[in-house]
Symmetry: C2
Subunit: 155 residues, 2 copies
């Protein structure tokens, strides 16, 4: 499972991608309220996203956060890695956090490893494609579908 931190981070980023088209900074407390995230907790999360180069911040009155990169350039894989570490389910198939399995006898002929390697490759591919822009597109698509459904019900 993804941690709450990661989930909050993704929600905050999607919120920023949707609400701040002009690049105007949006305040922590605003995001916290709209996305139901504890304010102080979100504070730390946004700071980390800024330090990772995904967000810009402006201090002082009228300060806040805005996207540093375009919504096409920010993807869920990177956010997950930032907060939860490796996406791989075994250390020995991780890409950016590789570590040998302590108890493993021969990594090269490990059938379990082969399975988890495939899972990792596919998962990373999907999560890399899941940019903020893509998430918004999907959300729009789903809204249309639900609109059609309610229309049909009224008939």
């Amino acid at each position: 499972m993804v941690s709450r931190k990661t989930k909050y981070a993704i929600n905050a980023l999607v919120y920023l991608a949707r609400e701040s088209k002009d690049g105007q900074p949006i305040q922590i407390s605003c995001i916290a309220e709209k996305e139901h995230i504890p304010r102080k907790f979100l504070e730390a999360i946004l700071l980390q996203l800024r330090n990772a180069g995904m967000l810009n911040s402006r201090k002082g009155k009228l300060g806040g956060y805005s996207l540093q990169k375009s919504p096409e350039e920010i993807n869920i894989a990177d956010v997950m890695r930032l907060f939860d570490g490796p996406i791989a389910l075994l250390p020995c198939v991780a890409y950016k956090y590789y570590k040998r399995c302590d108890e493993c006898v021969d990594e090269g002929t490990c059938g379990i490893r082969a399975v988890f390697s495939e899972v990792r490759t596919e998962t990373v591919r999907m999560l890399k494609n899941a940019t903020l822009a893509e998430v918004l597109r999907r959300s729009e698509g789903l809204k249309e579908i639900s609109l059609v459904k309610t229309k049909n019900k009224k008939k």
Copy 2:
């Protein structure tokens, strides 16, 4: 990441599938030694696998564990669910452990959910296909490849 418990469980099951063709029980201490798993810890793991219907046990002298189902019928997805719970990365896309996201406004139009739903579907598909028999087949395949490689090196 998968827990150590799950990793140990998979290794123990693969060991049993490979070494106990005749269905003769194999002792905890034997598996523990060969697979580098703390004995007492493995004890609890095997018990849980038995209670889940994957293993048979025989008590007393010459007792031990054997597979209850065929290696084609035991898959990694089920083992992971047994020890680590849901395979899904978000509670709201879990199949056997579904739970609404506390902070979610509208599940039906959530773009994030759509992404993680796809990831879950693909992951479960791969892990369901990863039966003990399949893991052994892959392992054999890898052994052949590494044999060819060493042959070529010698030339």
